[in-house]
Structures are given as structure tokens and as C-alpha cells.
Symmetry: none
Subunit: 222 residues, 2 copies
């Protein structure tokens, strides 16, 4: 699950070098299918020209089959500019291949501009699977700095469902402080001008919601 294996043939590329520069630890092995084994991903790396070649000679889908059967999370990583195609290639060929890989073989289709980009992506994929995000996604950006007036309270109250800056102002005027707003019952809330029964209920619900489960770090599998 936390493994990072690089196929020995990748010594031809600068990927292993870049990975080391990025401080990633990995093993090199002869791999039966794919080029990188990063956590649950099994990834086949293809430069855009190699990909074009594989499409034309029909070998692409064999390889797709291989990695699709070898992993729960098969992926292809297309490296290079998507416009660098052989002139004689049909313009639908590349999109068609990407679509087929995704629809029929369930592959994730990553893309990177160059070998360094590839290394960075691999490193991040690994890091994310090992450490998660390392932090929680920032909720509530743009917090006001400590202003002496009620801006702080207004911002706080405007976090309630259905409450924007204007409604927050009304609520604060009616109740006197943020603490009082948050202590109010549904009925009391509804007394405030601008607050109807629906909003009142929504507010009370949010306030009384119990923290049975929390997302610490989001974990999803495909």
C-alpha cells in the first residue's frame, strides 16, 4: 500500500534521478506490467510519441489490458504536449484512445508536461497515499483580522446557513452579540426581522448538530 516501485527499464529516463532529487524513496525492480507501482496505482508511462506509436500499431490496448488486470487502480500517464502528434494521425485517434482507456479499461489518464512533471506527480501520488493531505482542507478563508468593531462577530454569524453579511448585521442588532445569537431558540430567531421559520430551523439545526463523525483526512477509493 505504501510501496513505490519503479521498473528497471526506467533507468533510461531521468525519472529516477528526478525522484531522488525530490527526496522520494523507491525500489527498482523488473515489473511485469506498467512502469510505476505507487500505492494502489499501477501506472504506465507513455511519452506522447510513444503513445501515438502504440495507437497506430494497435499494441496500446494489450498493454492496457495487462495493467488493468494487474491492479485495482490502473493508470496511464501521458507525458508531453498533446499537440505534438504525427501529422498523419487522425485527429480523433488520440481522444479516442484516451476515451477507450477510460471507458473500457477503467484507467485513470494522467498527464504531465515532461519528465520532471512526471516525477513530481508520482511523488505527490505517493505522498498523498502515505500521509494523506497532512492538513485539513481550509474551510472559511478570508477571515477578518481583529477589527475593533463588530466585524469579527458579523463574520462569525454569517457562517450560519442562509445568513450573509446583511442578515448577520440584523441578527447582531437584534440579539446584541454573537453569543446571544447562538443561544437563541428557533422561536426567538424567528422574531428577528428578516428571519423566517425556514431559516430559523436551518440555523438551529446547524447549531445543534452533533459531531458524530468528522472528516479528518478524506479517504476515497475508486
Amino acid at each position: 500500500m505504501t510501496s513505490f516501485i519503479v521498473d528497471s527499464r526506467e533507468t533510461n529516463s531521468r525519472i529516477p534521478v528526478h525522484l531522488r532529487e525530490l527526496g522520494v524513496e523507491f525500489e527498482m525492480q523488473e515489473m511485469a506490467a506498467g512502469d510505476f507501482h505507487v500505492g494502489e496505482f499501477l501506472i504506465e508511462r507513455k511519452s506522447i510519441t510513444d503513445l501515438a506509436k502504440s495507437i497506430l500499431d494497435g499494441r496500446l490496448f494489450e498493454q492496457a489490458e495487462l495493467i488493468a488486470q494487474a491492479s485495482e487502480r490502473p493508470a496511464i500517464l501521458i507525458e508531453g504536449n498533446l499537440l505534438d502528434l504525427p501529422n498523419d494521425m487522425h485527429p480523433d485517434a488520440m481522444p479516442g484512445a484516451i476515451s477507450a482507456l477510460s471507458v473500457f479499461w477503467g484507467l485513470s489518464v494522467f498527464s504531465s508536461p515532461n519528465q520532471l512533471g512526471t516525477a513530481r506527480l508520482l511523488a505527490r501520488l505517493h505522498h498523498h497515499q502515505v500521509n494523506g493531505l497532512g492538513y485539513e482542507v481550509a474551510t472559511r478563508v478570508l477571515k477578518p483580522k481583529d477589527k475593533p468593531d463588530g466585524a469579527q462577530a458579523q463574520y462569525l454569524v454569517s457562517g450560519l446557513p442562509g445568513v450573509g453579511p446583511e442578515m448577520a448585521r440584523k441578527l447582531l442588532g437584534h440579539f446584541g452579540s454573537a453569543r446571544a445569537v447562538f443561544a437563541a431558540s428557533i422561536h426567538e430567531l424567528a422574531q428577528c426581522n428578516g428571519v423566517g421559520p425556514k431559516t430559523a430551523v436551518a440555523i438551529a439545526t446547524a447549531l445543534d448538530q452533533s459531531p458524530t463523525k468528522f472528516r479528518v483526512t478524506k479517504k476515497a477509493t475508486i
Copy 2:
């Protein structure tokens, strides 16, 4: 499902035109989340610059969450050259975003060079899902769309000064509900792990401050 729905906002782009030129039939609708609904895929289209912007202002997560919860097969389609990034952006940011979208939100990450490429890819995705390969492909089971319970409360509480997502989580765990957090005294707040005297005072101050409209005296500063 063989539907092909395009969000009405896409009229700004040339995608619908290209699609018609490619002989694809589709409907245009106002979509709640995403830009294209192609078979089982729900796809959000982002130009590389828009994507960069969304990363910087943190808006990307919300959108990812939206389409991830609205579909079994959520996807993002990155349009443009992956090297066209704001040069003030950290080089690890874009790969990190792609990785996170894939690992944590289970999104497929497509890529296309331009609007025509996007249209071609969409067309092929549709065609493949309609006409298939003669057999059904086992579509992978996607994410446990665990709607985080208490997210609303966490958002609300993280509006307090010195309180981010993590502290909010701790506070809610300690007090049981947002209402209880907002009712707590300085001393009670300080009981919570991670909350010291400074933070406790800051929180209480924010809660009890009243709009200064009526206050004559000013806060003394050193």
C-alpha cells in the same frame, strides 16, 4: 445511460459548436454541478489558467466535492498546455492538485490541448458508452460518498479567531455541538485540548463584542 447534456453556460465557449460539427447530438440544460454529463461521466471542464486560479483561491475543493457527490464517475477535464502556469505558483502545486483530485476525491483527470480537443474527447466518450465494445465493462465502484456529518458546524466554528479546521474539530468534540461551544466561558474553553488562555480569551471576546454603533468608548491600545 446514454445521455449527453451540456451546461448552458458552455455557450460562452465553442464547445457546443464543435460538438455539432462532429455530428454529436446533445441537450443543453442548466446543470447544478459540472459542465458535461456524458453517459455515466460528470465532467467539469477547466482551462489550465482557471484551474490554477481555483487552486490558489481554494475554490477547487468545493467544486470537486460537488461533482464527486453528484456522480458515480466524476471527472475533471484540464484544457490547455500544462506548462502555461502562473510563474508565481509553486511547481508542486499543480501535480499536487491533480493527485489530490484523483486520490481523495476519486476524480478521473482528463486532459486536452484545446476546445476542439475537448469536443473530440467528449464525443468519443459518448460514442464509446453508447456503442460500447459489445460487452459491458465492469465499472469500478466509486468512493464512499460519506457526507461528513457536522461539516456545517465545523465550518461555523472555524470562523472563530485562531480557530481553523483542526481546532474546530477539537472544540466540537469537546463540547458536543456548536451551540455548546458558543455558550462556553473562557475557563471552559481553556479546558479543551489545544485551547490555551490566549485563544480562549480571543474566542470569548469575539463572541461577546457588540456592534460598536452604539458604543462611545474606544478600546485602549498600547
